[in-house]
Symmetry: C2
Subunit: 544 residues, 2 copies
């Protein structure tokens, strides 16, 4: 009896404490369920289309091809449906474009009787080299499971088999690993049930645009389309999830393409509904089994919540949502300010150690960038506040902004060269200048001078490494009036991928290094990555 009383008392204290703790600390405790419900109700219906391969292809090593491999057309894909698989043992097929969805196939017996199961290996790839680079032995890095090779045991003929994982690919290689010596079979049918929530393109480039502009726009739109599933994913092959930094860029591109603003709204609510107890938006969000996030806070992405909400409001005039999520935007700002000292200097030693991702470029110093990202967020949040009449709530932002600005100009601006120099080692990087311009810390001729300095070949300048960072370079150039150079930059960088055969824009691209990979293994790169889709935004906004 005593035991039960002690147990009940313990339970009571424990429940009371939890209630107390949650009402004290959990700033959005009363909002999250509602926000997630709104997100859930906005989950889009996917559109499906069965796509079959176009060609049987043969891989050829070619040092002039991207990543050293290309495919040559051997025959029409239809030929495979009557061809004994044992006359090939291995075959590669080209679906002609990048698709995302579930893959199904069917076999039929074309000689004798199926007296054993058939063991088939399917390897799916977005790029030719991905299909022709052995995955194993696999060196430690990203999960081996991202690579899209699946072994299937066929035990019955004339029956569709659907590979259980969702795939993203243009090419498939089918290899026969096991069969009895007695019979032969053929692939009877195969298709990907291609899925996207994008819908039709609402905006198109003028007919008289140069071909390369049309091509870039097409590839950029296709990239976005493939990433538009039940959320804006970063990449349909990898990581298949919603990232806040990518969402911001996707929202910009979406305006000039599919105009699926409900999907932006859903994603904003997902981030709001999965904020931490402290009210922070986490960098990425998983949908299943229920919405949840990872645990490493990424400050620059959190700062983009305001910007994304502002863009959404501008696109839709949905003031209700803007008002509803305003406190989330504001909370991200307050949190960012908590890293600043009394002089407006960001404390790089802060024990909370947020992730300060701006680019995968090695040894990039982000001191200037993080300060400017906070200023940019202040600017955007202020614009948002003005639109919804909440300026009074953030009247103190202006003084903070001035402090940050003064601090970085005093400490990190090299007057002689007219460039920002970041961190203790006074690193000159392209990205520092770009973020200073985006934050309007620099503008006009001063901004142009800085950008030209870092865009001129110079070993001392740290260049950007990802399409994500390149977006901010191009945006900065347009912003400071370097329209001609900015257009050339977009055509050169993203057009470079087109010229190398991209159907969708890549996660990683360095014009001088086809094998660049943040994961030290290029087949792990995502060849269809949301953060590369912004040319569709640049072209329609700036290419007049």
């Amino acid at each position: 009896m005593n035991k039960i009383i002690i147990l009940l008392t313990t339970l009571f204290i424990s429940v009371s404490f939890q209630t107390f703790a949650s009402t004290q600390n959990d700033v959005f405790a009363n909002d999250r369920a509602k926000w997630l419900e709104i997100a859930e109700n906005l989950k889009p219906e996917l559109k499906y289309e069965k796509i079959r391969p176009l060609h049987i292809v043969k891989a050829q090593k070619d040092k002039n091809a991207f990543q050293g491999w290309k495919f040559n057309i051997v025959d029409k894909a239809d030929k495979i449906y009557t061809k004994g698989f044992k006359t090939m043992w291995s075959v590669s097929l080209d679906f002609g474009n990048h698709y995302t969805g579930y893959f199904s196939f069917k076999t039929k017996i074309i000689s004798k009787v199926m007296d054993s199961p058939i063991r088939l290996k399917f390897t799916f790839a977005e790029l030719p080299a991905e299909l022709n680079t052995p995955f194993d032995p696999y060196k430690p890095g990203l999960s081996r499971a991202w690579l899209q090779d699946e072994i299937i045991t066929v035990t019955e003929q004339d029956k569709y088999i659907t590979i259980p994982r969702r795939l993203s690919f243009r090419y498939v290689k089918i290899e026969l690993l096991g069969v009895s010596g007695y019979f032969d079979f053929a692939i009877d049918d195969m298709y990907i049930n291609a899925q996207t929530s994008a819908g039709d393109l609402k905006v198109s480039v003028p007919e008289n645009s140069p071909q390369i502009i049309k091509d870039i726009n097409k590839v950029a739109s296709n990239t976005l389309k493939e990433c538009m599933q039940t959320v804006f994913e970063d990449g349909p092959k990898r990581d298949q999830r919603l990232w806040l930094g990518d969402l911001y860029l996707q929202a910009l591109a979406n305006r000039y393409s599919y105009q699926n603003f409900d999907l932006v709204k859903r994603c904003l609510y997902l981030f709001a509904g999965t904020t931490t107890k402290e009210g922070l938006t986490m960098p990425c969000c998983f949908e299943r089994p229920k919405p949840h996030t990872q645990d490493h806070f990424l400050l620059p992405y959190s700062l983009l919540f305001s910007s994304t909400l502002l863009e959404y409001l501008n696109d839709t005039n949905d003031y209700q949502t803007a008002n509803d999520l305003w406190k989330v935007a504001k909370r991200q700002m307050e949190n960012a300010f908590s890293y600043l000292d009394e002089n407006g200097a960001y404390n790089m030693q802060d024990k909370r150690r947020p992730w300060l991702f701006f680019d995968w470029r090695k040894n990039l110093d982000v001191t200037v960038s993080i300060h400017c990202a906070i200023i940019f967020a202040i600017n955007q949040t202020t614009e948002l506040a003005k639109k919804i009449g909440k300026e009074n709530e953030i009247s103190h932002y202006k003084a903070i902004k001035e402090k940050i600005k003064t601090n970085i100009i005093n400490n990190y601006f090299d007057k002689q060269n007219g460039v920002f120099v970041s961190g203790k080692n006074k690193q000159i990087s392209q990205l520092s200048q770009a973020w200073a311009i985006i934050a309007e810390v620099m503008s006009g001729d001063e901004a142009k001078r800085a950008m030209k300095y870092v865009l001129t070949p110079n070993q001392n300048v740290v260049k950007v490494g990802t399409p994500y960072a390149n977006h901010y370079i191009a945006e900065a150039m347009f912003k400071c009036g370097m329209n001609t150079e900015a257009k050339e930059y977009v055509v050169s960088y993203w057009g470079g991928m087109v010229k190398k055969g991209a159907d969708t824009f890549w996660e990683a691209y360095d014009p001088n290094d086809d094998f660049i990979s943040p994961y030290r293994f290029h087949p792990q790169n995502s060849a269809c990555h949301a953060w590369s889709c912004t040319p569709v935004y640049f072209i329609h906004k700036y290419f007049k």
Copy 2:
């Protein structure tokens, strides 16, 4: 216009010819659809039971263990459900018995957040050595696809995944091939949805039987149970299909165990419904996508159709079925007679070259066996005819039988040693004597003398190699009154498997060679094979 007429004319001629050809040649053209419908209506409902593993086990090399491997218990299986898989990377589990069905599992995240798919390899095995012998690089032989290793990409947590192929196993090894470095997971649940159509055992051994008899009966019944699916399969791992030779033995064992006579009836109708145009039963039958057979005629199995039908009639008094299928039985006999010359000698040079399988023993001469198998079939068919009043239809059988008998006694009986010597090289084999006794060509002391001769260690005697052939050895011994020796034989041979750890009786077993394999790779052997299940028949019929 002319073209159409020519086309129509061609079609007409072609259709007419086919109709003509089929009515001329296809002896059961008007029966097959009806027979297959009867078979379809007898398809049993499978009974399912979810079975979870009992123990985590660790493999140990042990030259005294069967095939050199054994498993030691490490812990209760439940422990795995809370154990981070990354603390193991590989684990083997023991389900405690042999099961057949579909395997499902579920993962849960136990540390951090699932930020990548998980690549798992599952290897299922009936025997310890099967799980511990590398399958690759795979040497040509039976289809690699029979081996039960499957690679699964887990993309979602908390969701059951069912491996699409049906499996047959006691042990499973789970290996982690890929995962992100960030999180850890555990197997949350796993089970096989064990399936069989057997139902409950209707016959049991007396309580006071020796333990070894109880054990043999249990293992034999379990073997049959596992093979009882929607047909009597030869082996649930391999080949998963109905064979007529196995069916005959399963019908005998079924009488003394599950007494599921409708399944025997279904199988008889499947063979009848899939006869060739010439009315021949083929050796094996596949159920899906619709009943069909392979193309290599196996005469000794075809000869067992009568015997199986007779056993079925004896068990059920289902005269309707016996009458309905009588013409199929008779057709098999007529076909067998067509291989005989005017002296009753089987023409080994016949161009039709039927498969004369009696055993996998290399270089076995089957001349005596095939003659005796025909005689045995005449005897059985005559008994069947008597029961259903059809003796007048086969009055000519007796003369044929006498001719065959006279021929083999004159040509293949070694009077000095009292044994049959088979073929040109006068091979002395155990099987020739056994079939001569089963066919009642020899009996009494003469038979005993022959059996004793070939059972006495002697390098010149070709022994049997499979449990299938061993059935006929034991049957012959019981038949000629060697009850004591026959019991010892059964206990020694099948009991030998029990002592080596069998949960079910094996496809291949040589007491002196644990690695014997008809496929030159012991993991391909079926460790649960119908043709090994007859001790349940011997024990109940003869072990008084």
